[in-house]
């Protein structure tokens, strides 16, 4: 656990932790846990949060006490399944997002429900993820939702993932059982054009191969779950594609006529010639508009931007007005990109 030691050192010297841009301000990896109902997704997350000291002080004890008081067996899943209805039925109803960090970086963990009735909630959680963890219980093996969730991930474009074969304690920590599931699931993933090299045998309940390497499964040479997460990368904004910007609104608060929207792909610069679809009219970017607050002017002045990239919510003015630009129907392209398309 050398990694944890580094993290602890950083927080003893918080000044350096704050100033290190990679630690504090780099993009956070958004990771979703999916798989068949009851295969242990919520338990895995609860275990990771608890084993990395990411829970608020006393939270674990509080949930344990509440369970004892009501004669319920404690479940790590209750750390996430916070709704009374979820705890009574021992099931995740809706998706939850919880921040968490390792020594390497920050994460947003997304727990998704595995029951087919809550598929819309699974999609809500998975759609914003950079990466996924697919959970399969060793005793039950590959089930209907193990397959359906992988299929949905491929549809949503989440291509980075690893597979956890959980509940290995119920399979005597057997390498044979693990390899059997791996082989079967790999073959299925291939039919979806999905691939991963990372299959992890684990037990969420007993904390095997979650943050610490398991002594019961020394035959496993791959990473623990925490190590596998640290190897994943967050998605860069799609700046190398042609510009696409959907008009969100047009503001006329003062004498400026500002076209507001978010750049979906590509980049935009002052002076770019734009095409407005569906009218096929063109105009040039006069300015990228910007609010300069009074209070922060001398302390942290933000220069008026000259360029913007995918993911930026911006407002622009045009050199020649294009009348009746309205929301939604209007898409903006760069002239160059548009010519290429024709």
């Amino acid at each position: 656990m050398t990694k944890r030691a580094v993290g602890a050192k950083q927080s003893n010297n918080p000044q350096s932790a704050i100033r290190d841009p990679h630690f504090s301000d780099a993009a956070h990896l958004r990771i979703v846990f999916v798989g068949h109902v009851d295969h242990g997704k919520s338990t895995l997350i609860g275990r990771i949060l608890s084993d990395t000291n990411s829970l608020p002080e006393g939270k674990l004890e509080q949930v344990q006490r509440a369970c004892a008081a009501e004669n319920m067996e404690f479940e790590f899943a209750f750390l996430l399944d916070a709704l009374l209805e979820e705890q009574e039925q021992n099931i995740t109803i809706d998706t939850t997002q919880i921040p968490f960090k390792t020594a390497k970086r920050n994460y947003m963990i997304i727990d998704a429900p595995g029951h087919k009735e809550f598929l819309k909630n699974m999609i809500t959680g998975a759609s914003s993820a950079d990466a996924a963890v697919l959970v399969i219980a060793a005793n039950e093996g590959v089930q209907e939702q193990s397959k359906r969730h992988a299929y949905l991930l491929s549809l949503l474009g989440v291509r980075q993932f690893c597979v956890v074969v959980n509940k290995m304690d119920l399979a005597d920590y057997s390498e044979g059982r693990f390899l059997e599931i791996e082989k079967k699931y790999r073959a299925f993933l291939k039919t979806l054009n999905l691939e991963t090299n990372i299959f992890i045998p684990a037990s969420a309940r007993f904390g095997e191969n979650i943050t610490a390497r398991s002594k019961k499964m020394e035959w496993h040479s791959g990473p623990t779950l925490a190590e596998a997460l640290d190897e994943m990368t967050s998605l860069a904004p799609p700046t190398d594609l042609p510009l696409r910007l959907c008009v969100q609104d047009v503001y006329k608060f003062d004498d400026r006529r500002i076209i507001a929207g978010r750049i979906e792909t590509g980049t935009l610069q002052v002076g770019d010639e734009l095409v407005f679809s569906p009218a096929n009219k063109t105009s040039m970017v006069q300015s990228i508009e910007h609010w300069q607050p009074v209070t922060s002017a001398e302390r942290s002045p933000r220069a008026k931007p000259e360029t913007a990239i995918a993911g930026d919510s911006i407002g622009i003015t045009l050199r020649e007005q294009i009348l009746r630009v309205s929301r939604r129907v209007y898409r903006i392209f760069t002239l160059r990109a548009w010519r290429l398309r024709k």
Binding site: S24, I123, Q248, R256, A260, S300, I309
Partner: protein, 270 residues
């Protein structure tokens, strides 16, 4: 190519949500408690709408407000040129509802939730912009950016609509309203880093005085300060980096009983 930081990504996402809400709903208001999060909301709205907040801000005045907060309210209203509406549940106060005699859940419900309902009845807003964050509470962790509340203010958390790729469920029937929540993805530390980066004005009570400061600000009788020497934002961030106590630990109404927060929120509490 210029890169974007985590804070840039959060800011862009929040601005996008503000603009969707402003376009979709004719009649919006933004509750404003003068706490750090709601001041970040005002800042983000100013970014989204180029220096103005184009809808009213609502302060639910429980009459148990800290004087410093009211002072800040007056200053900020003038500074940002806000259209401020102040609402108190006078009827409940007249009935004698108060922290001196009642439990915090009852008082919070009467003086905050019911007061908000009264204001909604009066102004007929179809959307409210809130400053809640997923990291504050496990039930808030399950929220959507656009979340409908029925006429009784109830949240149907068991059957929420799907929400992805910037598509939001924006319809609300008559008498219902939609909560729009641009800060869902932010954490407490994100909020502080952003306040620091942008130099956003906030009430002084967040900073340590005589070894104490407030981490979360609610009504004065039920909000307890924490022991702290953090006099600057840098020091506050450093403190948060090492603490493991939850932010709302000093807010009595959350801890009154198990799942108190879920019960409060199902009944319309923000």
């Amino acid at each position: 190519m210029t890169t974007r930081t985590h804070l840039d990504r959060l800011e862009n996402q929040s601005v996008f949500i503000f603009r969707e809400a402003y376009h979709t709903f004719k009649n919006i208001a933004m509750p404003w408690s003068m706490c750090k999060d709601s001041n970040v909301l005002i800042w983000l709205a100013s970014r989204a709408f180029f220096g103005r907040v184009p809808f009213p801000v609502l302060h639910i005045d429980t009459t148990y407000e800290f004087p410093e907060m009211v002072e800040f309210r007056e200053w900020a209203t003038a500074h940002y040129k806000l259209n401020l509406i102040v609402k108190t549940n006078e009827e409940a106060r007249a009935r004698g509802i108060g922290y001196e005699t009642h439990d915090p859940v009852t008082v919070t419900h009467e003086l905050k939730t019911v007061a908000l309902q009264q204001a909604m009845g009066q102004y007929k807003w179809d959307a409210l912009i809130t400053g809640i964050r997923r990291d504050e509470d496990p039930t808030r962790a399950k929220e959507r950016y656009f979340s409908r509340r029925n006429a009784q203010f109830e949240w149907d958390y068991k059957d929420q609509p799907p929400e992805f790729w910037g598509q939001f469920a924006t319809t609300a029937a008559k008498g219902e309203h939609v909560r729009v929540q641009p800060l869902l993805d932010w954490t407490e530390v994100d909020i502080w880093r952003y306040i620091q980066r942008e130099n956003i004005p906030i009430p002084k009570m967040y900073f340590a005085k005589n070894g104490q400061r407030y981490r979360s600000l609610g009504c004065s009788p039920i909000t307890k300060p924490i022991t702290s020497n953090a006099e600057t934002i840098d020091a506050i961030i450093a403190e948060l980096e090492t603490t493991r106590t939850s932010e709302r630990a000093g807010r009595a109404q959350d801890h009154h009983e198990r799942n108190a927060m879920q019960k409060l929120r199902a009944k319309g509490f923000l």
